[in-house]
Symmetry: C2
Subunit: 345 residues, 2 copies
């Protein structure tokens, strides 16, 4: 059937692998009955887990390897010595056309390096980027780059804007996403010419994107734009700062409810509403980062993810495939090409 | 009396000036009975406010000027045309030795430019920085730079580390603060050599600071270190991202309590504990940014601050004066000088 989506899974990546990976696939199959799964890893560990899940088993195959990329492996080391690893073989399945996408909860740097090497960068994209969706006051937005590129020039930022736009349309389901470039409100903005140069290009009337302009740090959670474009250094620090702040707030809230007997009573009444709040803020809903700009779909699930989180990471990969992410990037690149050089006056 | 601290106040800066400034001074006087206040601004507005506060009046003087720096004035414009403004005259009082410190809730860029011009940079400091205290899981920390310097070299970062250390000791009351440099955990850290070069210097055994090493974005709220050192672009985005995330979380919490009748009942019981939480998270406790590295003490209160927040900004300035911030910076610079050049091997 032509609608089948084949998903290559690194069964050995992540703190709770392979159980979490197999269970995650099982949850994802309920949402995407057209999915097929290729599990790469230790057959002796995977087989008994699959045996308990007959529906999944019917749509799965195991591709044995003993080799694993550890969490502390360096990307260069993984590239050199990890050619028979579960992660690399899963990536190769996409490169060889056997699978439509790869999902792994393993070592981020190794996954990025191997995916870049085996899948190759899309023509017209200078550097792939890491992107992730996040919750805002208005709904969901996407931010990129989150750490793949420490320093970026204006071309990189313009390409990130395009990739973010396509991600917002194909994964977040937004019709005409707005794009903003992250900066600071200072008059003293003397450095970071690349930020201003990228904005100047995106502002041009022939730009295919809906460019909002500059945004500041507090616009991220406010959801001022659907696509937040920044370099990988700033993006990584912004996303981790937001995570840390949310965690601090949660801890303070928990402490407040333990503060007195009346507060504990209040908690009993408020518990269902607070449970809803927790679900709303559940990071598993927005699990994983996506490597954009490659000639294939590669999604990184959080290393500490559980089965539900891993299923959501699979969901992102399936959405990208089903909604034609790669084709849309290619089409967008064509209309973007004109922006790479200054327009004739 | 030798313990007197004289505080120059820009009475016209901030959304709710001059009422907020006068009331803030009155609150600060309760905490610091040794304080004296010089109010710079429109006498006709300030005089009636002071008349209602006899204790403050006895320790205050008004220095009339009609000129005001508006919120949208550019720094260069303020420097050129604002020489008789309330902000500038208050700064000049510090430069002339009439006051020990200046506090303003006005235009940040103008305040920075004028303070730098009139107070001059400390010998040994290449660039002043903006710093602010913030709440963490462990207590309070300080971060700098928050936007004064978009691009920073290793010398700048090492100097920020020293200034942050002295701020943590003199304002936050920490005995031996730990210092961390903000970066990302990527293996691909190819750029940002200045971050690595600064860390290499701070790691040297002859460094006078307690250097923890690198930290990531989620370490900010965790309070992993007492002093977070970063460039002004990253620092500004991190602090605003944290503010935005906290606001989002608060809104979600408010919405959760309105969600159902039982949740509303729960709120009634939990209200005192939640009030304590709000007080704990109250941004007014950590009001204001400080310009460090000048030959004088200049504190910026939030433009939207109320009297309590403004009083806290005054408190930061008084703490810096009373605890010998400038002398300690000068002493620290001497021991830091050796770190500016690579050690002999």
């Amino acid at each position: 059937m032509s609608d089948t989506v084949t998903i290559a899974l690194d069964a050995m990546g992540g703190d709770r692998a392979p159980e979490m990976v197999v269970k995650g696939a099982s949850i994802a199959l309920q949402r995407f009955p057209q999915a097929r799964f290729l599990f790469f890893g230790a057959e002796a560990s995977i087989r008994p887990l699959l045996a308990k899940l007959p529906r999944l088993s019917a749509r799965a195959s195991i591709h044995h390897t003993d080799e694993i990329i550890t969490g502390d492996a360096k990307p260069s080391q993984a590239l050199r010595a990890g050619r028979r690893s579960s992660m690399r073989l899963a990536i190769d399945a996409v490169a060889d056309g056997e699978a439509d996408c790869i999902v792994s909860a393993g070592n981020t740097g190794a996954l990025m390096a191997m995916a870049k090497f085996a899948l190759k960068t899309l023509p017209g994209i200078d550097r792939p980027a890491m992107a992730a969706g996040f919750l805002t006051h208005r709904g969901e937005s996407v931010m990129l780059d989150l750490g793949a590129n420490v320093e970026c020039d204006a071309d990189n930022l313009v390409q990130f804007a395009l990739m973010g736009d396509v991600f917002a349309r194909t994964v977040l389901g937004l019709l005409k996403p707005t794009v903003g470039i992250l900066t600071i409100g200072s008059e003293e903005l003397k450095g970071h010419e690349e930020v201003r140069a990228a904005a100047a290009r995106l502002r041009r009337p022939d730009s295919p994107l809906r460019f909002h302009g500059f945004i500041e740090g507090d616009d991220i959670a406010a959801g001022t734009v659907d696509v937040v474009v920044t370099d990988g250094f700033t993006g990584n620090i912004a996303v981790k700062t937001a995570e840390g702040t949310a965690r601090l707030y949660s801890e303070f809230l928990r402490a407040a409810f333990k503060h007195s007997l009346t507060a504990r009573i209040g908690y009993v009444f408020a518990a269902p509403a607070l449970k809803k709040l927790r679900e709303r803020l559940d990071p598993r809903r927005y699990n994983g980062a996506v490597f954009l700009g490659l000639q294939g779909i590669a999604v990184k699930s959080h290393g500490g993810s559980d089965a539900l989180g891993f299923a959501n990471a699979i969901g992102v990969a399936v959405d990208m495939k089903v909604n034609g992410f790669l084709d849309q990037i290619r089409a967008g690149l064509a209309s973007l090409a004109a922006l790479q050089t200054p327009a004739a006056l």
